[in-house]
Amino acid sequence: MSPARQLKTLQKTDFDRLLLWLDPNPEHAGELYEKIRWRLIAILASRGCCVPEELADETIDRVARRVADIEATYAGDKSLYFLGVMNNVHHEYLKRPRLSELAPPPEDSVVKEQTYLCLDKCIEKLTPHAREVIEQYYAAERRAKINLRKRIATALGISNSTLRLRALRIRAKLQVCIERCLEGSQTAR
């Protein structure tokens, strides 16, 4: 294996060491890992990077390979270490010659149909109250939607912003459920 290839490939032991460094509890470590990855992607995307997921993974790989060297001496918020490495990775990315601007991949009709099926399944899993909130929140269009949301908020005895937050939290749960459902259907295919 060439040195370059060796550098690119993350060893399982490195990854396990990274999780252990983040948190001795594997479950907590997994959650923390997901959070850090999401933050890296969000920041890279906000910087206009076309391949935020790729750079985030590269950042995590680099940190994983360095954990053995720093774990004994590193002090402070571990997630901030990722931010520093990400800045380096991003700078290197900006120096690379641009091949061409990547366009987002086209819509996949199979994925779209699967999303509808997963949405139906995940809505069934919600509590009746949550289902009612989400159905009413997404009912109506444009101006009618705003008026309808005001009516729902009044009926529930809460403010518009609270209704929005509540609906978005349910929507976030739906999103997680649908993503898992889609992953399951992709592995089944």
Partner: protein, 256 residues
């Protein structure tokens, strides 16, 4: 500053996640302004998770937007689901094939093509069935001011023929089983009163039917009826001879 805060502040991260979803919702419902829309297209859609958020937002809006104002007790069918599109498309195809099959099986459904009929052909009103009391003079009986139609008009087609039309371009009549008679109208050059002999002949010259016809002054056509049973598929001609001077005009007709 924001980037560092995003790593340190869990509540900021949560709010950012929710705003991402709200942004995807706004995009799906086309509520973004042009400037925001451009920024969204340039930066937002480059991660798989965000593209999926947009898909879910679109699916949610398509599923629930038609329910405006409707408070549902249970789950309603989502008619914008792709499965419904397939169902509707299949139904349209079935109806289309059934129509084609019906026309092929029952060709008499197709009436005389309008383009072969003369534009100033008289319009025969659709016969109406009147439900009268047995004794129309009885008090309280319903009476409509509908003039009594001749008995044969309920099963009559009008065919207008012009002597300037050649045999190749002759109008085609498709025999319909429901017709008793066909009403042939022969267009004339002048409008003076005259007497004619009309003869319906086959293409071989066999005489099918003949009748003497008289026109009143001001009429530009003569007409006669021919029983359906006298006609079979083939080419026909009507020879119209003016009695006064022996002038002959020929009208062509094709029967299917």
């Amino acid at each position: 500053m924001f980037e560092r805060a995003l790593f340190c502040d869990s509540s900021l991260e949560l709010r950012t996640r929710l705003e991402e979803i709200a942004l995807a919702d706004d995009y799906a419902t086309r509520r973004l302004r042009d400037k925001d829309l451009n920024a969204f297209r340039q930066t937002f859609r480059f991660t798989a998770a965000r593209r999926n958020q947009i898909e879910v937002s679109m699916a949610l809006n398509e599923c629930f937007a038609p329910l405006a104002g409707a408070h549902r007790a249970g789950k309603s069918p989502t008619f914008k689901h792709p499965v419904w599109s397939w169902a509707v498309a299949t139904m349209i195809l079935i109806v289309l094939f059934a129509t084609v099959w019906l026309v092929m099986k029952e060709p008499q459904i197709v009436r005389v093509p309008r383009r072969f009929l003369h534009s100033n052909a008289p319009v025969i009103p659709t016969p109406e069935v009147a439900h009268h009391a047995e004794h129309a003079t009885e008090p309280g009986a319903h009476r409509d001011e509908v003039p009594p139609a001749p008995s044969h008009e309920a099963a009559l087609d009008v065919i207008v023929l012009d002597s300037t039309v050649s045999a190749e371009n002759a109008p085609t009549v498709t025999l319909a089983t429901l017709r008793d008679k066909y009403h042939l109208q022969l267009m004339l050059d002048g409008t003076s009163s005259a007497t004619f002999l009309a003869e319906l002949l086959t293409s071989r010259g066999d005489l099918i039917y003949s009748q003497e016809l008289t026109t009143a002054a001001g009429e530009n056509r003569v007409s006669f009826d021919i029983l359906r049973e006298r006609l079979v598929g083939g080419d026909y001609q009507v020879r119209l001879t003016r009695r006064a001077d022996g002038n002959v005009k020929t009208y062509y007709l094709r029967v299917r």
